[in-house]
């Protein structure tokens, strides 16, 4: 169902996103362009950060530990997964496994941005940390190429939003009540849908999205959370032999 929605939502020429993602040649973008592209998403990410701060406290993760978690891990879905396992009384190992599986997608994602990140090893390691789904998606300049400045601007903005949101959630969370009542859990997939709409630049991208969604859907009942997303990345193999034509 959501797959058909994803396809329908993929209006080819979505003004906000496609214009924002208009393929300038690599190197013409500035860090501030990355900040600008991701600013509307940063608002949503800050709200998720607040939610995480609230849930972490309910899961018995202390205020300081929750802040360290957001600052060092910077990967929302994995942090939510770990917190929810702990809060359901799961073991330490189960919480770690759930989070690591959810983050496994950052292996192929990290490889995809590798050509854009150069410099000494510690700089590459540091810059790789600002990669999250949203900063990755907005820094895609087409044809599988990623712009370093867009990535850094977008990533740093989202990082600040995420950590500040977590701090606010930890401090004032008790005033908010149940995040599900506010519909925040539906905001997450909607955010990804909007990002996907900006990525559907040609037929191959639409096919990859449909296939990736289908793989994930089929696998949900059979494997632990996180694995369906990693498996779905195999859908990009339909691009084999197509030589990565510019978007």
């Amino acid at each position: 169902m959501a797959i058909r929605i994803a396809a329908a939502g993929g209006a080819r020429h979505h003004p906000t996103l496609v214009d924002a993602a208009a393929p300038l040649p690599a190197g013409r973008h500035r860090v501030v362009d990355g900040v600008r592209r991701v600013a509307p998403l940063a608002v949503a990410v800050a709200a998720f950060g607040v939610t995480f701060g609230v849930l972490a406290q309910k899961a018995g993760i202390g205020s300081f530990a929750a802040l360290v978690f957001s600052a060092a891990t910077f990967a929302g879905s994995a942090q939510f997964a770990a917190a929810s396992v702990l809060s359901a009384g799961g073991t330490t190992a189960a919480a770690i496994l759930a989070a690591v599986l959810l983050n496994a997608r950052y292996l192929p994602i990290g490889l995809s941005v590798a050509p854009a990140l150069h410099g000494p090893w510690w700089q590459r390691l540091l810059r790789a940390q600002v990669v999250v789904d949203e900063s990755w998606a907005v820094s895609h300049i087409g044809g599988g190429r990623y712009d370093r400045r867009l990535l850094l601007g977008a990533g740093a903005t989202l990082y600040c939003a995420w950590v500040a949101g977590t701090a606010a959630g930890v401090a004032f969370g008790s005033l908010l009540g149940d995040p599900a009542k506010l519909g925040l859990d539906a905001a997450f997939p909607a955010l990804f849908l909007a990002l996907l709409a900006g990525q559907l630049r040609d037929r191959r991208a639409v096919v990859a999205a449909l296939l990736g969604g289908a793989i994930a859907l089929v696998l949900i009942p059979f494997v632990p959370p996180g694995i369906p997303i990693v498996a779905a990345s195999a859908a990009c193999l339909i691009g084999l032999g197509s030589r990565g034509a510019a978007s």
Binding site: M1, A2, I5, A6, G9, A11, T16, P40, I61, F69, F74, S77, A78, Q79, T92, I96, A104, L107, P108, I109, G110, V113, A114, P115, L117, W121, R124, G143, G144, K181, L182, L184, D185, A186, F188, P189, A190, L193, A194, L196, Q199, V206, G212, G213, I215, A216, L217, I220, P221, P224, P225, I229, S233, A235, C236, I238, G239, G241, G244, S247
Partner: protein, 103 residues
């Protein structure tokens, strides 16, 4: 050390390693052309999977609930060319509304 701290430290170190692996091993090098064709499709494939799992998965179960309705509302907002923040708010509001009326 509490269980929570162990989770925070281990998950953080693992994530730093996972995110850093690609740029550490292959940083600054152009991908071979065959690989570039594949990588260009990684974003749509992974984003679609994130939509499906976030909207429909509840653990290992597929559930159609207020989240799916929220995403459907978001799709309509997108088709009407709403800005991204509006799309997200529409999804959250639709889900919240459905839950409030107990649907």
């Amino acid at each position: 050390m509490s269980a929570a701290w162990i989770v925070v430290i281990v998950v953080s170190l693992a994530t730093i390693a996972i995110k850093g692996a690609g740029p550490l091993l292959a940083g600054g090098r152009e991908l071979p052309r065959a690989v570039a064709g594949v990588v260009s499709l990684l974003a749509p494939a992974v984003l679609a999977a994130l939509i499906v799992t976030n909207a429909l998965a509840s653990g290992r179960h597929i559930v159609i609930d207020a989240r799916a309705a929220g995403v459907a509302a978001a799709a309509i907002a997108l088709a009407l060319r709403a800005p991204i923040l509006v799309v997200v708010v529409v999804a959250a509001a639709a889900a919240a509304l459905l839950r409030a009326i107990g649907a």
